[in-house]
């Protein structure tokens, strides 16, 4: 296969769909380091990108990889890396740098079992809180979790678009099951997809402020070599990018970093909701677990038992308002996760004591099955 097979239907692997989604989004630069179970993303792009004159590099480690794509993004290229648990840990400092300096990029973390080397070839969802809080200091986080191969393609495009729109790193987090599964994917026609172009300022050179304060909190970003000369630093900085310790400038920067996300939650929120309104019991899940939840829901429907499903596609920022509105009136919320309990705390935070929040946690390297979910639902009914 060469390039994106627009309009065709093919049997595609999740990681392959991520790579093709990146090509569809117009990736200019990829830098990465081999790690299971994400390696196919790098391998496919290594094959495809030189064919279209795009830049691909295998770096000496994951720290170098995220550093290189930040440099690449600042020089004007749409940039991405792909990794898994241990590499994701190594990338945390660079990720924070990109948040602080407001550099658009896409980081793909295909989740495997942890901690440490853990279960390199097996599935987990143990990086969900790390994706939110892994780098030091307060910072924005935008994290998308696909549940099928089609979403690996479409959410990769969305990740690139959101990165440009919000001038921030966006993390795509398929779990290992999603990254490695193969299923039918019908690619859209090229003109059906929306691509957010890279921004560029139109002000005179001397008026340019690299962190201009706009209504949305995001302003067009110039690139190195464009004639707009600016300074970028991970130190807390003023609107020009120069280091500052002035209280008003520090507060203004920190507030804007937060508010550029919190003021536009609608543009980020993305949920899949099935039968929640008519059910007293709801399964709250994301990633590969959603597939088992859909199967469990239809098994239970045949037994004339109703269970709802609430799935955030954008897991960070967490859909606080919708969860509160839709789930606070329920009897039981089952939160199946491939970890020892991470997202469940968000659900508990948003629901009253009258709502029973029940964990279903699996962390042995295998997926949660529909049968496990059916049993869990029947137990609480």
């Amino acid at each position: 296969m060469s390039g994106v097979p627009w309009g065709e239907t093919k049997l595609v692997q999740g990681n392959e769909a991520v790579a093709l989604g990146a090509l569809a989004a117009g990736i200019d630069f990829f830098a990465g380091y081999p790690i299971t179970p994400s390696t196919e993303v790098a391998e496919i792009l290594a094959r495809e990108m030189p064919l279209i004159g795009k830049k691909w590099m295998q770096m000496e480690d994951e720290i170098a990889s995220i550093s290189a794509i930040i440099g690449g993004s600042l020089a004007g290229g749409k940039s991405m890396t792909a990794t898994s648990g241990p590499g994701f840990s190594l990338m945390q400092e660079g990720l924070g740098y990109a948040c602080m300096t407001e550099v658009p990029l896409v980081l793909v973390n295909v989740m495997r079992g942890g901690p440490s080397t853990g279960l390199p070839t097996q599935v987990a969802q143990g990086d969900v809180m790390q994706a939110r809080w892994g780098t030091h200091g307060d910072h924005p986080a935008v994290v998308l979790a696909p549940s099928d191969v089609e979403e690996c393609f479409s959410l990769t495009i969305r990740a690139f678009n959101l990165a440009e729109e919000f001038r921030t790193p966006v993390i795509l987090m398929p779990d290992e099951v999603i990254g490695h599964m193969r299923e039918k994917l019908t690619f859209p026609d090229e003109k059906e997809i929306c691509i957010t172009p890279q921004s560029s300022p139109d002000v005179p050179l001397e008026w340019y402020e690299h962190y201009h304060t706009s209504a949305t909190g995001v302003s067009p970003m110039a690139h190195f070599g464009s004639g707009y000369r600016f300074h970028v630093t991970g130190l807390t900085h003023d609107i020009h990018g120069f280091p500052t310790r002035k209280v008003d400038e520090v507060i203004s920067k920190m507030n804007r970093l937060k508010q550029k996300i919190t003021r536009r939650l609608d543009a980020l929120e993305d949920n899949r909701i099935h039968g929640v309104e008519e059910s007293k019991v709801v399964i709250f899940c994301y990633g590969s677990v959603y597939r088992s939840a859909l199967a469990a829901q239809s098994i239970l429907a045949r037994q004339r038992k109703k269970v709802g499903i609430f799935r955030p596609v954008t897991i960070w920022p967490f859909p606080d308002r919708t969860v509160k509105e839709m789930l606070d009136s329920k009897d039981v919320i089952i939160v199946p996760e491939l970890n020892q309990g991470q997202i469940i705390h968000e659900v508990e935070r948003l629901t009253s004591d009258s709502v029973r929040v029940v964990p279903l946690q699996r962390y042995d390297g295998y997926e949660i099955t529909p049968e496990q979910l059916v049993a869990a639902v029947l137990e609480v009914m």
Binding site: P50, A68, T233, P243
Partner: protein
Amino acid sequence: MPARLPYTYKYLRAKKKFPHVWCPGCGIGIVMGSIIRSIDSLGWELDDILMVSGIGCTSRMPVYVDFNTLHTTHGRALAFGTGAKMVNPRLKVLAVMGDGDSMAIGGNHIIHAARRNMDITAIIVNNNNYGMTGGQFSPTTPQGAKTATTPYGMIEPDFDVCKLTEAAGANFVARGDVYHVIELDGIIKKALSGSGFRVVEALSPCPTNFGRANKQGDAVNMMELLRDETINIAQASKLPKEKTQGKTVRGIFVDRDGMGYTERYQKLCDRVSPGVKK
């Protein structure tokens, strides 16, 4: 010195960012002056230059110069610079780093930048210690030297920046110091003039930390040490070995013409997909 004023206004963010953070007697400003004079003599456009740095005293340099400037995380200047150079090969990328930044936390990146022959000029200001955090030992602290973290003397052997980068494959490797400034200007100009990975080690005093801890006197005394304890490579070659014993050799050690990485990558693209240009 009115003759210097044009530099001040053309190359420095003179009205915005001064005074600088460097201590009295620090040599980093001299290296910055040398870089600016070299760039001026090459006639480069400010827009075409990207100065990238890591963390530390030397890495504060980019804020003062009016190029495209990128102050990154500790040790990673070369990795950031690699990405920028790949995406926009027209950028002339200078990485300014200290000895701790480039040799310790960034040691992996400098080895691989040299191995790839990545088209970046790395200017490493070596003051033998971590100045910004208060004078701890670095990989270039000489054995026996006292620092904040070697109160009984340094027991680890030190790295030779030049030998290390030469062995790793850099196209150009040279050493200068901030006492022999005219020589340093020439070395940096030569470094900036070619392709591939190019390294200049600039020896520089840190009177506040290293000098004080090792009783090397004030800034002037430390400059005199650079004068007396280093020797130019051409002079050294004429002298018998015992006369150069213990002296640090200055000069250009490697100047080869290996193909830089960006050209190598472009050739790959041309080979697999003729006609596509980016």
